[in-house]
Amino acid sequence: MKIRHLFLFIAGVLALPAMLLTSGCKPKNIGSAVEGDAAQKVYVAPGKYDEFYNIVSGGFNGQVSVYGIPSGRLLRIIPVFSQFAENGWGYSEETKPMLNTSHGFVPWDDSHHIALSTTNGEHDGRWAFVNGNNTPRIARINLKTFRTEEIIEIPNSSGNHSSPFLTENTEYAVAGTRFSYPMDDDDSNPDVAINTYKQNFKGTVSFIGINPENGEMKVSFQVLLPGVNFDLSRGGRGPSRDWFFFSCYNTEQANTLLEVNASQKDKDFIMALNWKKCEEYVKAGKGKKSKVRYAHNVYSDKTHTGTSTIETETVVLDPKELKDIVYFMPCPKSPHGCDVDPTGEYICGSGKLAAVIPVFSFTKIQKAIADKNFEGTFDDIPVLKYDAVLHGEVKKPGLGPLHTEFDGKGFAYTSFFVSSEIVKWNIEKLEVVDRVPTYYSIGHLCVPGGPTRKPHGKYVIAYNKITKDRYLPTGPELTQSAQLYDISGDKMKLLLDFPTTGEPHYAEAIPASLITPGSVRFFKIEENQHPYAAKGEKEAKVFREGNKVHINMTSIRSHFNPDNIEGIKLGDEVYFHVTNLEQDWDVPHGFAVKGANNAEILIMPGETCTLKWTPDRVGVFPIYCTDFCSALHQEMQGYVRVSPRGSGTPLTFSMGNKAEPTGAVK
């Protein structure tokens, strides 16, 4: 190999003066890693669509982004937990309630994991769930509109990382505490010394019930657990459908320098939890009612408005009293990923500091529980014997195993952060069959349908942290990236490398055919129940309520009605309620006013959005459309006149070439 490289390099160098640019200047591994026909395999010609939607968490940007696969084209950024000035999410009056929490308005979060709704363990294309890691929340995105429809805060939780994974029929989404924290008898967060972790700190996992009809969420019950870090989780499927599995690290219960102190033990745990049994205990009244405060925010496509409600009660189950709901299984070295194979029989724990991948058998777990084959207890919770529940270990698979996805053909694909590779292995035989380098520092990975009973297979997508060997430098920070590999053959083949917005954590991919037929093209104007909607130009009006001025305004190619407004006075709060009258696909209008301290808004066809504006000075201010809508987009503009406090300028509004102001003033 070396000799071949040498000759190639010399040849490249010698050819340089003539060719100016040759492969001699490029990193060789990329050139040789990609097959000659890779570009053709990812090219989607005009008139054609991608085969899959790839729905990707945005990490620190708090959003979700959507890519087409195999092209890797960015299709949309869906604002979820973070304000998005680009379209007014979290700035408009209608969407501000969506970011309400028990801590007040929290306009950002850290979104890590996607879970697509399933029926019988298979993708159904209804909803995408995503967790907010920081101020514990779960959001539900409607895949008909690709918009955030609901956000629920998780009480009794800190650091909602092992979330929002789902049960097989989307009965529940889960939420587990990464940060255990002190909880007293009232489940409040008391003021105690941090170094009393072992005595005072508790963890919880929460089950968020999902209404099968409309997807609405509620905190159904919570399970009180010892203070450790819950990391990732997966619902069982098929035979294991009544169970949920959570990886746990820091079973050392350290409260400082976890880098060292949480790596002391040879084994931490995978927790197996029987949610069906929990459900029975809740029904039987075995839970304890706990006083809490959490926000539940729901957006309506009819009123085009979000509503935030503060809830005050939850039900907590204590496994110290209910002995048969939770068991720990030893798992080597700070397990991160905890993934269930499509058959539901195998649970793979990826200890990020382990030199093996342990694979647990659901059948053996059941037998060990029945036989009470325990090696001891951890905070009164039974710990099953490792050997009794183990299907086997994949030996020396790579360094730093993180996450595993499945192709439905008996193979698993595990990402390795430290050795920067994807390793394909046979689940039954526990044998490594292929490995490919990723460039570099892969975290999560995604096989379309990988976490379902019927994976769609075809590709594995790597989500990588470091790109400095191949993306042009952009100052101290470089883009994160995804890499698409073909897994249709025996060997994985790199096809494409595409950048991602934010930092991709977990992602799912789903066939477009499950989503596109139901995709909403516009909102029906006659169904618009927004209280300030102007459902036709004749309904446009301006009226005053004390110092509040409401402008019920319409937009249609290529004007606003009204577009001349006078009589606003300094000290007024102005509400521009803009209704987009278009009933056509992909014709949003934008609305912006000079000096707005919040954002612009983008209004979808048939929708009403409200921008609040508090003028800070006297004068005439332009308004205009910010979303290029037609050949006369640049003509889509108007003026708002602001007069001094106490001025006698009457409140008037007009549109068109009329000499006199039109419209009655209320």
Binding site: K2, I3, H5, L6, F9, I10, G12, V13, L16, P17, L20, L21, G24, C25, P27, K28, N29, I30, L257, E259, V260, S263, D266, K333, K352, L353, A354, A355, V356, K396, L399, G400, F417, V418, S419, S420, P437, Y439, Y440, S441, K465, I466, K468, D469
Partner: protein, 187 residues
């Protein structure tokens, strides 16, 4: 080894010619001499960057006492691994430490069919965490990347790992290098 050496020399000779023709070389031209071996292993480790703090691999490459270790790390294909974000603690045996092994051991380990054995040994020198000496305690057990454990000794202000002396500690961008005077063999 010979080929690698030859390759390096040829590269140095050709570097100037090559770099004046590369569009992306720019400011890195002056660094071509020091990093000339890198393109052979192209990848993350080949990124030309003389401004940032050195990672654990570059620390070892820059040490005249660690040429055997560097050769072994390359033969075991661990260069890119150790250029990773880490964090790593690398216990780095000196050339003299390798020389203490029975004659022929190193040559044997560098053979392609011994790659897995070599990887196991080298990964036994790497922990995925930063263990500064002030955090080490006598009798402390540290889990290493190969899955094995080492035991730390602290006596009279001197630190040992499995009995090998830590003779120096060098901070790196992605961790820490503790220079040791004996090769650690997995138990």
């Amino acid at each position: 080894m010979k080929i690698n050496f030859l390759f390096r020399n040829i590269l140095i000779v050709l570097a100037l010619v090559a770099l004046t023709n590369c569009t992306n070389s720019g400011a890195e031209q002056q660094s071509a001499g020091t990093d000339a071996a890198a393109p052979a292993a192209a990848g993350q480790s080949a990124v030309q960057d003389d401004m940032s703090q050195k990672d654990v691999v570059k620390v070892a490459v820059g040490s005249p006492d660690h040429t055997t270790l560097v050769t072994a790390v390359k033969a075991a294909a661990l260069v890119d691994v150790l250029s990773n974000a880490g964090p790593f603690t690398v216990f780095a045996p000196t050339n003299a430490a390798f020389d203490k092994l029975p004659a022929g051991t190193v040559t044997d380990l560098l053979k392609p069919d011994k790659k897995e054995v070599l990887q196991d040994i080298l990964q036994y020198h790497v922990a995925v965490a930063v263990y500064k000496t002030d955090m080490l305690q006598d009798g402390q057990v540290i889990n290493m990347a190969n899955g094995g454990n080492v035991t730390i000794g602290v006596k009279d202000g001197k630190y040992t790992v499995n009995g090998a002396n830590i003779v120096a500690s060098v901070p790196a961008s992605n961790g820490l290098v503790h220079v040791i005077d004996a090769v650690l063999l997995p138990k």
